[in-house]
Symmetry: C2
Subunit: 145 residues, 2 copies
DNA sequence: TTTAATGTCTCTAGCAACTAGAGGTTCAAG
DNA sequence: CTTGAACCTCTAGTTGCTAGAGACATTAAA
């Protein structure tokens, strides 16, 4: 059995985050030692690793909750999990496209900087002037991922 | 003079967001009508447009605050603004690299889905098994941008 | 001119996904 | 046996907004 600290180190998830995951029900309530400290077995370790990887892949905790409930009932169709992954891929590609546009814009801003005073500096100008902006704005520019 | 609603529509920033920007000092306190409603001139319009574009480019409100204070004193060197933009570009490229890795991973997850039951589904497995993961994890996987 | 609809006001509370800190208890090493 | 690290619970803070309540202002139509 691992203490929360060992689990934290092994899984690469911070201690307060583990407690937070328990609090919101992503992890089951941990067993306790005689002195009321949390103890974990390998099942929780796996679950936490799963969560970490999913987070790193950009899944929200809600999506992870869904995935976990899917994997808790493994006899269903794979389609639902597949669906989640596909939706995630769409979101990721969308985000990629916008980030690439952003990269281009920043490069342009930096290239245009006259290296004089700010009065001449295009970094400020580009941000203030829509005409110079060079990429389309839209309402979904900052989704939660 | 524009009401907050017109300003909102023209600048493409929601009404509560404008009030929020005023509250945190990104926008100056607005003039008021006889009936205590906010009124805006073109200076605030420009400032708000600047803020919106900077947000769309991924600048944090803190970075925007810096940029605004730079542009409020335009006789300084451009170097500071340039510096901000460059730091931003580094962050954006970092984020791009991680998103691309994520894209590959999701594609792989979807491709491996056996289209059977979840028991066989790699979507779950890939997330649970680090060995299959195929990309490096690191501590800065989810920065604030 | 009245009335209805819309817009605006302030204020509080909430969202994700944690992070930080206070103040106290338990555990493991020397 | 003591010390110091790790643990406990609890509250509150973070960023960048968004949503709602309940009241006042403004505008357009009837």
């Amino acid at each position: 059995m691992l203490t929360i600290g060992k689990l934290s180190k092994t899984a690469g998830v911070k201690v307060p985050t583990i407690r937070y995951y328990e609090e919101i029900g992503l992890l089951p309530e941990a067993e306790r030692s005689a002195g009321n400290q949390r103890l974990y077995g390998s099942a929780t370790m796996d679950r936490l690793t799963f969560i970490r990887h999913a987070r790193e892949l950009g899944f929200t905790l809600e999506a992870i909750r869904d995935l976990l409930s899917l994997s808790d009932t493994p006899d269903q169709s794979c389609a639902a999990a597949d669906q989640l992954a596909k939706a995630q891929l769409v979101a990721v590609r969308d985000r990629l496209a916008r980030l690439r546009a952003l990269e281009v814009e920043l490069e342009r801003m930096i290239a245009q900087c006259a290296h004089g005073t700010i009065a001449d500096c295009r970094v400020i100008e580009v941000l203030g002037n829509h005409d110079l902006c060079g990429h389309a704005h839209n309402a979904s520019d900052h989704p939660s991922l």
